[in-house]
């Protein structure tokens, strides 16, 4: 290929009159895709306490605790500071107790604030 100094210049000058592609992020947000894996949401009545999710979660972020001796009722503690948002729990649960929301700005200053309890 031939040598042409400044071959990039036309492209550069053309873009002087174009709108920049940068997204001004905290002020403008792009929509999240439909399969986005945000935070885990738990639906307590559906849970049957089979513990598959606890065993499959790669980050050990799920605790399922039986709340009553007599009834089949469970609460879930999600350690969102450990969760790696892989959605394996959504796939594993036989009763579709979990789904993922579209939330992605979850940073906090203290990791203990990220613990969520679903009753």
């Amino acid at each position: 290929m031939s040598i042409k100094p400044g071959i990039f210049l036309p492209e550069l000058l053309r873009h002087l009159f174009k709108k920049p592609v940068t997204v001004k992020y905290p002020f403008e947000k792009d929509p999240v895709p439909k399969d986005f894996r945000g935070n885990v949401v738990f639906d307590p009545p559906k849970c049957i306490g089979c513990m598959i999710c606890v065993n499959d979660c790669p980050a050990e972020a799920i605790d399922i605790i039986r709340v009553s001796e007599t009834e089949k009722k469970f609460k879930m503690i999600l350690h969102n500071d450990r969760c790696i948002h892989c959605a394996q729990c959504v796939d594993s649960c036989p009763t579709k107790t979990y789904h993922m929301d579209g939330e992605f700005e979850t940073a906090v200053l203290n990791r203990h604030q990220l613990k969520i309890e679903y009753k």
Partner: protein
């Protein structure tokens, strides 16, 4: 009154205050243009469209911790940034922006072209010393590269500046500018010299493709590796002011200077320097960094012979006129 005017000249316009304001504006202009060429936004939040960003950067650097390496020569290390800033600010006084008297004075005399040129060369030497006195491997390499590059671009630049002076038959920048103001067509004769001077200025400013002495991915910050805080801020400011002065010099010598007294002169100054800065920015955006041996090769194989050729053209034209 006799003392007030020089004082105003040195401190306000075109001296210190104007230089500080205008050089930060030029940095903003350069950065914004560079960003827009790359389809980015560039500085945005400080001031209107980020116009105060360079000022904010400098204030931030002033507030930062200032570290002097243990093994470095403390006095040299601290004095160099201040010296170099003082030198380029002095150089700015020789630009023929505003002349309150026609007679030769402290800032305009026969031969001031050479004085200005050498004042602009001194920072290079200071960069070398700064690198050398940092006692850091990367700084030392950076310092050596500064000097190596200096031998490449300095002579072509001097030759390039020489040709318009020869044609105008004067060593005084003001007179050179006048000469071309009266005969604008003769400016075209120096077109090769103009481009050589712009390229050499880019090398002097150590910007892409000539940012070899502080090539970040190779030798970290080059001669500035150990500098931080206030001292680094001085060096940054130095770069901005050097850009303005260099652009002003080229505008004065090749583009007919800044005619028309105080205000039109200012307008011309801004217009012409911004045009040259635009050229520098476009060069920075369109090219990639070259290696030090390629740079030396380029300047001796292309720049220097072309500068000599330019000188010949000028001499022939001068012979025809006479």
């Amino acid at each position: 009154m006799a003392i007030l005017k020089p004082l105003l000249y040195i401190l306000v316009y075109p001296g210190l205050i104007f230089l500080l304001v205008y050089s930060t504006f030029c940095e903003w202009f350069d950065r914004k243009l560079y960003a827009r060429m790359q389809n980015r936004i560039g500085p945005l939040h400080t001031g209107r469209s980020g116009i105060l960003q360079p000022v904010a950067d400098i204030i931030k650097l002033f507030a930062k911790e200032d570290i002097v390496p243990e093994k470095a020569d403390k006095h040299m290390f601290s004095a160099l940034p201040v010296f170099s800033l003082a030198i380029v600010c002095t150089a700015a006084l020789y630009l023929p922006v505003w002349h309150y008297s026609e007679a030769p004075s402290f800032n305009s005399f026969s031969g001031d072209l050479i004085v200005l040129f050498y004042l602009l060369s001194l920072p290079t030497l200071i960069f070398f010393l700064a690198g050398w006195h940092s006692t850091n491997f990367f700084s030392a390499i950076g310092g050596v590269r500064v000097l190596t590059m200096f031998f490449g671009y300095e002579i072509p630049m001097l030759l390039a500046l020489l040709s318009p002076a020869v044609l105008a038959d004067s060593w005084r920048i003001l007179e050179i500018a006048r000469f071309y103001q009266n005969r604008p067509l003769l400016m075209l004769v120096n077109i090769i010299g103009f481009f050589i001077a712009v390229i050499a200025l880019q090398a002097k400013l150590e910007r892409v493709p000539f940012d070899i002495p502080h090539a970040e991915t190779e030798i970290v910050g080059g001669q500035f590796t150990e500098y931080s805080g206030k001292k680094l801020a001085f060096f940054r400011l130095l770069g901005d002011i050097e850009m303005v002065v260099g652009a002003g010099l080229i505008a004065a010598v090749f583009m007919g200077g800044f005619p028309g007294g105080l205000l039109p002169g200012l307008a011309w100054f801004i217009l012409k320097t911004l045009f040259i800065i635009f050229l520098l920015t476009a060069m920075r955006a369109a090219l990639s960094r070259i290696r030090i041996d390629q740079m030396i090769n380029f300047s001796w194989r292309w720049l220097a012979p072309l500068a000599v050729l330019q000188l010949f053209i000028v001499i022939i034209i001068k012979g025809m006129e006479l």
